[in-house]
Symmetry: C2
Subunit: 648 residues, 2 copies
């Protein structure tokens, strides 16, 4: 037999197939499990957790413990708060609580006026057994009690009373040694720093800012908008061969800069910096400047090569070859991407494979050496899962603070698998979810389904590749709407620069790309445009920062709205000290109004007296009563972000 | 790295935690998996299955293979039909289909008028590589084709045409050797005989029939009602100590027979037969008689002892002892069951535990020796899961045709766990599901949720312990209704005798037991009562037997009914050669009518022309058109069981 005396099943959080679930330092993590046993014993359970063992130092691990409580349907739960970075292990332990079982039996019998003399003797033995291992004072106390329970001059109820006190319950809590315990297999939990879960990202092409130095000069304005992470597309030399011209045309002119994703030229590959962008010193200065502004730089990790990348000549075995001896460029027939050679992650020779994978790892280590701790990974779904499964834990074993965002714009199971094998965060389908029902369904899946244990969403209203939904030829109201949705639905979100200027021209009616995409040319922008949404963005990011409720995903709850153009959802801290209700007008053209149907119980608000609703975005204070407030949003107003509070 | 080049996840059918899923011989088992890979290769997949390896004979296993096809969302499926009893293993294998990928690329390029000369060479090499391992004729054919592809005098399209024929596709199907394969871990599947899934059960107390010989005499009448299994509560000697009297009273009179579940007396324990019931010879004759009528006998397996059981004196270490030296009787305070000693499945000494468990196994083997192949297990949830996990596979390893029905009237996760660790079938909550919505929700869970892979329901409208819902003081219409529901919803169902006489008197308004329960006294019944539902039962069982659609659970589909008192659901065979629509009046007092909303597409019926609906129960033929037939059911009519057919 393989089963213990107690069943402990389905411990959560967990990722499928034994990969670690994810949490961040200081996060309140709900650990739960199905715990049950045959028969009628009263059970007790706890979760123990510790950083994963350092080889040969297992004995030194400091285990923390939390008592689990029974919810419903044999589900038990405890809340733990990991304090250290890196891999942890959780072990759920359960035991039959002999004292609680005895106490239930004896009090029930006493209430039914049944004889309890044998039970009193049983109880005395329980107390004595625990006394054997108790401290001096407790030992004397328990032995005295046991003696009193056997004192036949007293009434049974008198003999029993002191033995069912809370002090005795405390002393007899816990299992009688390890023999009585059933323990789950250890469940791995990876603990990241807070930024893995919460952050506002801003993407920009440094060449449009005059290179790395120009980007550094722009950082204060970005910090003022309240961003936490500044992400740069590849900053490496760009190939000349088959370089793309404006609007993704073939045959670039001599002054066309080419796509930054066509990585590598005579000047170097993934560890080089494009000479026109600056030097390593410029880069280091940029990282330092970001740090001084409370931000950090994220780099693109795009594993592909232009035909001019040094690897192409140095390591032809790392590429696919065609029968005519040429290297295969990227294709998705009939489309051709002649400016890019995909990497062959499975060269014939195992030594070549290892050398290639090590070289890919070296890129990461190189930029870590230059202060980078966040990598946005380009098209991870076109590289083997086995590669990511090897790379990410390997890097994080050395640098537990390094984060990986998967640009996993791919099928649902592929997206989930990348998160499963180790990615810190993932791009999502948010970009294409625009209607109330589909937003709600998607958030339910992300926040409340199995994915919630290991896939952290990062919501992007736009990217350099994607101008979609109401943003296409859309008014500023559309840009406000999508920003508020991303920023308040997901703890991590980001925009690609130009968003605040409401750049809205698509490449064509059927093409999701931007017209005159910055991927192929340098863009100049007027940041002082009076129509800039920068103040709006700054306001939203400021609200995010001040409201801990918005730093978490799982508490999101949708409240019914009679008008599908108005979507309403709340987030709250566990103790309801912070409750935020966001109402967004999904129609960027027309004023919309409705009455909501709020779940006041969930929000910890009174149903029979007024409460405050302060719109942090618009600055209006409302006093609401009951669960059906009326809301009205002009399109340009876009949203209420309401701080709900009991009246003090 | 641990991952293969292709991801194969979530292979179904499966039970949780590696226990075998369940099927029966001849069942069409849908094997499915998530299968995907990075990049754009076209994949192929198959499932291989074989009986589990006999130790030291693994090389001899005969593997069957079925090609999997892609459904949606990266889910692949094949249907297999196991032909042998016992443990099997399934392995899902997937590979990148180089030929299909090439064919897609080259035909797409050709259609876009792109150059394919390099692709033709690639194709030639593919053909030559396969030719190397092909038979003589195919080898020549493939080599000739490869040569033609390189014939530069012909147009590319001419050179390509023969290489994209179906014959070539067939020849190039399958992986290029094991190196290119990714295989799932083996998934266990336990294959039972048909009776594990399909059967009509009849429970009776032989002492009310004049013992085993009298029961044998009654078998023809039971066979005439169409039952497959006759299940007997314990037939062993009954204890005298604290024997229960009528209506579960304490202090039985000298002539009170006691509860058959208070097992054991001076005459013997679990392997003895109560002297008043008969002899081993009588029992063997009963088994043989049942067999001759196409039925089989099932025995109760109730692991508990009366105070007079031989084990109590021979093996006191197998019981719980109290501080006063007495053996603990069963209690659920304040309730006491002094006539029963529960067994302590975890004696202190490991040798005692092993001896006890072996003795429990010996009981099974003893009755197997007397021709019993079905055991109905009493209160399995009060015995350790570890015991069942050891017992059931151990018995079935020797006797793959032995079936275990769990009387798991307990909490949902406990019920599921018992199925998980090995029980063939389980009692369910059907007994308490009486409303349309709750029946529908429950069937969805049983037939379409994860449980469907390993927990087979057995629906009982009544048991000797339970008279519930509309049966309590209910009219014959209630008995018809619940019988039809059980018999048509679940492939396995059963009734406790007396049901056909509409015995409906509860022990009290709040007590779910029967008044004057047969558990404590001998019942005499008038089987010739003109109101007997025996003909109705026979008709229902006859319909079950003639309709293969009713032999399976998973195809059940509920169709909307505008009247919640009428519930409508269909079952169909995979090929729609048998389609049965059942409509039940849940109101035993009032005539009900409604229009249904049938999903004709699912049922394979025309939406634009008439089809036949023959009520097998009432004998009426209808001709319906469209998806909204009108139905009307008198309470005493109870149900339509409609055979739906296209008009030939």
């Amino acid at each position: 037999m393989s089963l213990g005396r107690i069943i402990i099943d389905d411990v959560r959080p967990c990722a499928p197939r034994g990969y670690p679930a994810k949490a961040v330092v200081g996060e309140a993590v709900r650990v739960s499990a199905d715990i049950f046993k045959d028969g009628h014993d009263i059970l007790a359970a706890r979760v123990r957790w510790a950083p994963a063992p350092v080889p040969a130092a297992a004995g030194d691990r400091k285990w923390h413990t939390a008592t689990m409580v029974e919810l419903v349907n044999d589900r038990w739960e405890a809340v733990i708060e990991p304090a250290a970075l890196g891999r942890h292990e959780l072990v759920v332990e359960a035991w039959a609580d002999a004292y609680a079982t005895w106490r239930h039996k004896v009090t029930t019998k006493l209430a039914a006026a049944q004889d309890i003399s044998v039970e009193l003797e049983e109880g005395a033995r329980l107390l004595e057994a625990r006394a054997a291992t108790a401290g001096r004072e407790d030992k004397a106390f328990l032995r005295k009690l046991a003696k009193a329970m056997r004192n036949e001059r007293d009434q049974p109820s008198e003999r029993l009373a002191p033995a069912i006190s809370e002090r005795v319950a405390d002393l007899l809590a816990g299992p009688d040694g390890d023999d009585d315990l059933t323990a789950s297999a250890p469940v791995p939990l990876w603990v990241d720093r807070e930024r893995a879960l919460v952050g506002a990202w801003y993407e920009l092409f440094p060449r449009s800012y005059g290179g790395l130095a120009g980007t550094a000069a722009r950082l204060p304005a970005i910090a003022e908008m309240g961003f936490d992470v500044v992400y740069l597309p590849p900053i490496h030399p760009i190939g000349r061969t088959y370089r793309k011209g404006p609007n993704n045309t073939t045959g670039a002119g001599p002054n066309d800069p080419g796509s930054p994703w066509a990585i590598g030229g005579p000047e170097g590959g993934h560890t080089a910096i494009h000479p026109e962008l600056g030097t390593y010193a410029d880069f280091d200065a940029l990282v330092q400047k970001a740090d001084s502004l409370g931000m950090e730089m994220a780099l693109d990790y795009a594993l592909q090569c232009s035909p001019d990348h040094p690897w192409v000549t140095e390591h032809p075995e790392w590429f696919h070859h065609r029968p005519d001896g040429s290297i295969a460029y990227a294709e998705n027939p009939p489309k051709k991407y002649q400016d890019i050679y995909p990497i062959n992650f499975w060269p014939e020779e195992e030594a070549d494979r290892q050398a290639l994978w090590d070289a890919c790892r070296d890129i990461i280590d190189f930029w870590i050496g230059h202060g980078v701790r966040i990598f946005r990974v380009d098209n991870p779904h076109t590289k083997p899962f086995a590669f990511w499964e090897w790379l990410i834990p390997g890097v994080q074993e050395q640098h537990a603070d390094v984060l990986f965002l998967a640009e996993a714009f791919t099928r649902p199971k592929v997206m989930a698998k990348l998160a499963e094998v180790g990615f810190t965060q993932s791009y999502t389908y948010f970009t294409w979810r625009t209607q109330s029902l589909e937003l709600r369904e998607y958030l339910e899946e992300l926040a409340h389904g199995p994915l919630a244990d290991y896939m952290r969403p990062n919501f992007w209203p736009n990217t350099p590749d994607i101008l979609s939904g109401p943003l296409r030829n859309g008014p500023p109201a559309a840009f406000k709407q999508r920003l508020v949705l991303a920023a308040t639905m997901s703890p991590s979100y980001g925009i690609y620069s130009g968003y605040e200027l409401c750049e809205n021209a698509p490449a064509s009616e059927t093409n999701e790309e931007y017209d005159r995409s910055e991927k192929y040319e340098i863009k100049e922008r007027d940041w002082d445009d009076p129509g800039s949404l920068a103040p709006f963005v700054a306001a939203v990011n400021d609200i995010r920062r001040r409201h801990p409720a918005l730093h978490r995903l799982r508490s999101i709850h949708f409240h019914a709205s009679a008008n599908p153009s108005l979507i309403a959802y709340s987030k709250h801290t566990d103790d309801r000290s912070d409750v935020v209700l966001t109402v967004v007008n999904l129609d960027p053209w027309v004023v919309q109004e409705t009455t909501l149907d709020l779940d006041l119980g969930l929000l910890g608000l009174p149903w029979d007296s007024p409460y405050d609703a302060y719109d942090e975005l618009g600055g209006q204070a409302y006093r609401w009563t009951g669960s059906h407030p009326y809301v009205r949003l002009e399109p340009d107003q876009a949203a209420h972000i309401l701080h709900l509070r009991r009246i003090r």
